[in-house]
């Protein structure tokens, strides 16, 4: 009897292990696939020419594969989204975690969750129909599809992750800290900004990094508002991100063009890996404190 149970236990253990391995295998598979399919084009084009070439003309008679405009656009776009989204998200989180009455908090929390659940194509569509014409009229530029439009859309898209994670971090601050601060005569505002926020800083930093990750990886919404011309980034110019560079040309691509798209994906993948590493660093920091 005992051995039978033992076998059953082992079997169950094996099943769980198998299920766990599926995820690991997927990550490995994707990594290996990206590296294998991304390297040949880089080798053929030359890594310096590929990463620092300022011109992309993949189907021209003399094709040029320089992805510097895409890299810079992704970096600028993400930075812009963070610049716009983090202050809003951070202050909203403080309000939700510390100030808001319970009913307001509940409704606002629901709204934030819903914002997170809206598919990116819907963000893109609304951006295309409302934001792009809006920017054209507001700033009197010939066309509204621009880096600015993408930044605004991305800023809204990263709000939920920043708010939710910051709220969790702020709520995890031990009540004793705040009580002590209040008992020493600090006002509630001083307590939040000088005690709660510093105590939750690694969690908030992780929230920001998560936002960066989401912004840099977004393709659909950005593709619909950014115009997708391979220009060097400039606020009112039509630009192309790393993600949209892959997505927009993939369907009809062939030969070296297709391989180069995989190489772009590889570069994007490395960016995301880097961001993940930073995120892990902050999360570990939070655990330690």
């Amino acid at each position: 009897m005992k051995t039978k149970e033992n076998y059953l236990e082992r079997l169950v253990h094996g099943v769980f292990l198998l299920l766990g391995l599926v995820t690991v295998a997927c990550v490995l598979l994707i990594t290996v696939y990206l590296v294998v399919s991304g390297i040949p084009a880089i080798r053929e084009i030359g890594i310096v020419k590929f990463l620092f070439g300022a011109e992309w003309a993949s189907t021209a008679a003399e094709p040029k594969y320089g992805i510097l405009p895409f890299i810079l656009t992704s970096v600028y776009g993400t930075a812009g989204a963070i610049l716009l989204g983090v202050p809003i998200g951070f202050l909203t989180a403080i309000y939700l975690a510390k100030m808001a009455p319970k009913s307001v908090k509940e409704i606002m929390g629901q709204a934030v969750s819903m914002l997170a659940g809206i598919p990116s194509v819907v963000y893109g569509l609304v951006g295309m129909m409302v934001l792009v014409p809006g920017i054209r009229k507001l700033f009197h530029v010939p066309d509204g599809a621009s880096l600015l439009a993408a930044i605004v859309v991305l800023a809204i898209m990263i709000l939920p992750s920043i708010i939710k994670m910051s709220v969790t971090a702020l709520e995890a601050v031990p009540k004793e800290y705040e009580d002590a601060s209040l008992a020493l005569g600090a006002t509630p505002e001083e307590t939040w900004f000088r005690v709660s926020v510093p105590a939750a800083k690694s969690g908030i930093a992780a929230a920001v990094v998560l936002g960066v990750g989401r912004a840099i990886g977004e393709a659909m919404a950005v593709m619909m508002v950014a115009g997708n011309a391979a220009n060097m980034p400039s606020l009112f110019q039509s630009v192309r991100f790393l993600t949209t560079a892959v997505a927009s040309e993939m369907s009809y691509s062939s030969g070296l063009q297709r391989q180069a798209l995989f190489s772009i994906a590889l570069v994007l993948f490395l960016f995301i890996m880097l961001i993940n590493a930073v995120l892990n660093f902050f999360l570990k920091g939070e655990k330690r404190s």
Partner: protein, 298 residues
């Protein structure tokens, strides 16, 4: 013991992954060498008892990427009617499609241009399947009605930057185009002779996006397959000719190209390929062809 189970499970996982990987690969290259998929799929097909008169076999096509939509739709419709026939399409480009049919690597070559004389001399026959008309579209508010091919070329290369230079109001021209690799884009750029010289403001990845964007921006100009143009945008006459099915068919509308089926002049097609050829060139296929956004030749 534990280690043994673990190893076995890992092996199973890896093997199943490898199997999956192979499967998607053959699916991705649906077409390539016609013999391979036919060989693997034949046993599966014969499982259903086939009626004696039923058509079976493989129709392999190879060529123009622009024709993907129309040939795909025709292939699907044909396979629906003839369940035992395998239809394959290899999107390689017009040139390689013509070469493939010459070398016998496919049954029907697909080309989005008429065959050259030397290709005909080399033993190929062309049959025009349909015409692809590309309409130049502007915002309904735009007062410009008529542009010549030269004006369109100058606009797209950035020589003409303001609508007032072609008789419109004083507004900057916003060039809307398709992404690199799009059949509509390469078709348009070839006919207007602006290949690789276009100064696009926006490169969008679908016809619908182009139309929506042009409909929203009073200064925009774009191009789209004639059949998909909606009334939210205005089509521009090219050299005085209004784009329509009729003007595309009689050849007076300039921005158009034929989609051609290339076959060997002296060799007979196999039964399935002949049936497919007869079907697509018959009026019965017209609905499918029109739905794919092109103008049937008949």
């Amino acid at each position: 013991m534990k280690r043994v189970i673990c190893t076995i499970l890992c092996l199973i996982l890896v093997l199943s992954m490898a199997a999956c990987g192979q499967k998607t690969e053959t699916a991705a290259t649906t077409a390539a060498p016609a013999a391979a998929p036919a060989a693997t799929e034949a046993p599966a097909a014969t499982e259903t008892p086939a009626a004696p008169a039923k058509l079976s076999g493989t129709v392999s096509t190879d060529g123009s990427t622009s024709m993907e939509k129309v040939i795909g739709a025709l292939g699907e419709a044909f396979m629906e009617a003839n369940a035992d026939v395998t239809f394959t399409y290899n999107p390689t480009g017009s040139g390689s499609g013509i070469q493939a049919v010459q070398e016998g690597r496919c049954d029907i070559g697909l080309s989005s241009r008429v065959l050259k004389d030397e290709e005909k001399a080399a033993g190929l026959t062309e049959t025009v399947l349909c015409y692809d008309g590309i309409a130049v579209i502007v915002n309904p508010e735009n007062t410009v009605e008529d542009l010549t091919l030269e004006q369109i070329a100058a606009i797209y290369t950035g020589e003409i930057k303001n609508w007032s230079e072609v008789g419109g109001s004083d507004a900057e021209i916003v060039l809307i185009g398709r992404e690199a690799g799009s059949g509509t884009r390469s078709g348009f750029e070839e006919i207007v002779e602006v290949k690789d010289k276009c100064q696009y403001r926006q490169e969008l990845s679908s016809t619908g996006d182009v139309i929506t964007t042009v409909a929203q921006n009073p200064g925009a100009i774009g191009y789209a397959s004639l059949a998909s143009v909606k009334d939210t945008v205005k089509t521009v006459k090219v050299g005085g000719v209004t784009p329509s099915e009729a003007t595309v068919k009689d050849g007076t509308y300039a921005i158009q190209r034929p989609f051609v089926l290339a076959t060997k002049t002296d060799a007979k097609l196999n039964d399935a390929a002949q049936a497919f050829f007869d079907y697509v060139t018959s009026p019965a296929a017209n609905d499918v062809i029109t739905a794919a956004g092109v103008v049937p030749a008949k």
